[in-house]
Symmetry: C2
Subunit: 323 residues, 2 copies
């Protein structure tokens, strides 16, 4: 636990310093966001805010893990490294998307098909890694019931679905200043506690570093945001959160700790399906659902507070079901 707490503090400090250093660079490189044409009107003023701020917390998290990691045991089974590799893989996909945005659509980056293929390969590789990892395998824990469910070889396709779903959901959640970062830092705090309680020292360091790094990043990302995390950042978070849950054999807790990521995806799916079925009617004012709240008159900061605090409560409930 001590090592985890120290990791969080270290990652926080690195992220604050890194943000300070990176902010002018991102501005200079004109890595500014081109705000999506269909976003709420109020978002137009955000034009030009640098993206790729995700590099701040990704860098802080990785540096912290390199220093603080528990290096006992074979390196190929080290959970913090597995988490980082998975996060970096997804970050690569997000980075390609960000480059497309920066070039104003001129550089198309990855096509939708290429992107899906990359995601599928990453998801397959990580599911197989967990499947063959001696401490993980094909069984997952069922919270609250405190039972185990062995899914056999079905583990791999099901987890691939969970991985692709979670990373894309994290990406969708990133739509308001400080939203994805504050929700995720709470989730990683809970994941740290669980990893600590399960004596998964290395994974605990990874989660605590992620939590601290996001805390530092939030200083720049809070409303009014000085930098956005970009797809670079949200895909890193998505990869980190899903891999952490899987490495502790608890993918089901994502329903609670990543509740708002899930809701972001679901709201988009419901909106699109309803729109098609009714031939043009909308169920939400706009999707993902945070834009629905926003257009309903809630301020950006109030939505962020609501998401963050409900996530904290859902995390407490998760801890009740897992510990």
């Amino acid at each position: 636990m001590q090592r985890m707490m120290f990791s969080a503090v270290l990652a926080y400090v690195i992220a604050v310093v890194l943000g300070k250093l990176l902010l002018p660079v991102l501005y200079k490189l004109k890595f500014g966001q081109n705000i999506y044409e269909l976003a709420p009107e109020a978002h137009k003023k955000k034009q030009g805010t640098p993206i790729m701020g995700g590099l701040v917390f990704a860098g802080a998290m990785i540096a912290t893990v390199l220093v603080m990691n528990d290096y006992s045991g074979p390196l190929t089974q080290n959970m913090a490294f597995a988490m980082i590799l998975m996060a970096l893989g997804n970050m690569g996909i997000g980075f390609a998307d960000d480059m497309t945005k920066i070039r104003g659509g001129k550089n198309k980056g990855l096509t939708a098909k290429q992107k899906m293929a990359f995601q599928a390969v990453l998801a397959l590789a990580f599911s197989a890694y967990c499947y063959f990892h001696p401490q993980i395998g094909s069984a997952i824990e069922i919270p609250f019931l405190r039972a185990e469910l062995n899914m056999g070889i079905l583990y791999i396709p099901l987890m691939m679905f969970v991985i692709v779903g979670t990373t894309n959901s994290a990406n969708l959640l990133d739509g308001l200043d400080g939203l994805c970062s504050s929700v995720s830092l709470v989730a990683f705090a809970a994941l740290s506690v669980i990893a600590g309680a399960l004596s998964l020292g290395s994974l605990g360091v990874g989660c605590a570093a992620m939590c601290g790094a996001l805390m530092g990043f939030l200083f720049y990302n809070v409303y009014p945001a000085k930098m956005f995390m970009g797809d670079t950042g949200s895909m890193f978070i998505g990869g980190a959160i899903v891999s952490a849950a899987m490495l502790m054999r608890q993918p089901l807790i994502l329903v609670l700790i990543a509740f708002w990521m899930l809701m972001s995806s679901l709201s988009v799916m419901i909106q699109v399906t309803y729109f098609k079925k009714t031939g043009g009617k909308r169920i939400f004012r706009m999707s993902p659902i945070h834009h629905h709240f926003e257009l309903g008159g809630m301020s950006e900061t109030r939505i962020v507070a609501m998401y963050m605090m409900t996530t904290a409560v859902l995390c407490l409930i998760t801890l009740l079901g897992v510990l």
Copy 2:
């Protein structure tokens, strides 16, 4: 720990519901803030926002403790109740101040002398209570050194100073939307963990309930605030935080977990002293120091994020020194 987590969730839910119910009532009663003439210009728009929102989290915290408290042991030694009584006593002083503000200064409420007398009596009573409490006494823990310092009868005057200092500092910290509530909820999360680790079940319930209640209140208090906690709220928080630290024999950790409260007070003292000594020069743009940051160009929300996240880091450091 389970009881504490459940307390936090319960208090959160009660606070959200209570806020929803109380908000229209406070508006109707015209319990609006008259913004201090000397506050930064941008604060003028806050004129009319209802104060006494502190009733929301005070009510939620007390209701939760009544339900979830650990009733084993003599009631006079029950730490959650001692904490509530101390918080309520200070809240009374804050309430009188709020009434003065609402009446636009016509009703002078307590004079400065009366207020100081009340605070001194409360502080004396609570210090004596701890002094004679069989689980507390005149010794305090020294974090990091893991030593004990027995102060003998000096405990009472020194703790009186700590109490009056902390409650008034909490009051000074309450100057930006969501500032005092978000900083305090982090502090109470840390206090809950310490109380849990020290097996102080009743106190743990009190701290966790306070944390959850503030989380719920934050939804209404976050920028742009729909209600302020008022002196009613900040004095309740001040009383709760100082009593919790004293009941766990850890008053010294207030320097870390209540860092920004302390800084608020210190900045005012430094400002006033410097002003007098130099015959009119200022060291800060304005005190308490959050107004200094604000006038330096930082947005309200960024200051709140900075205060909240540094408090989280200081709380982690505290846990390293105490557990």
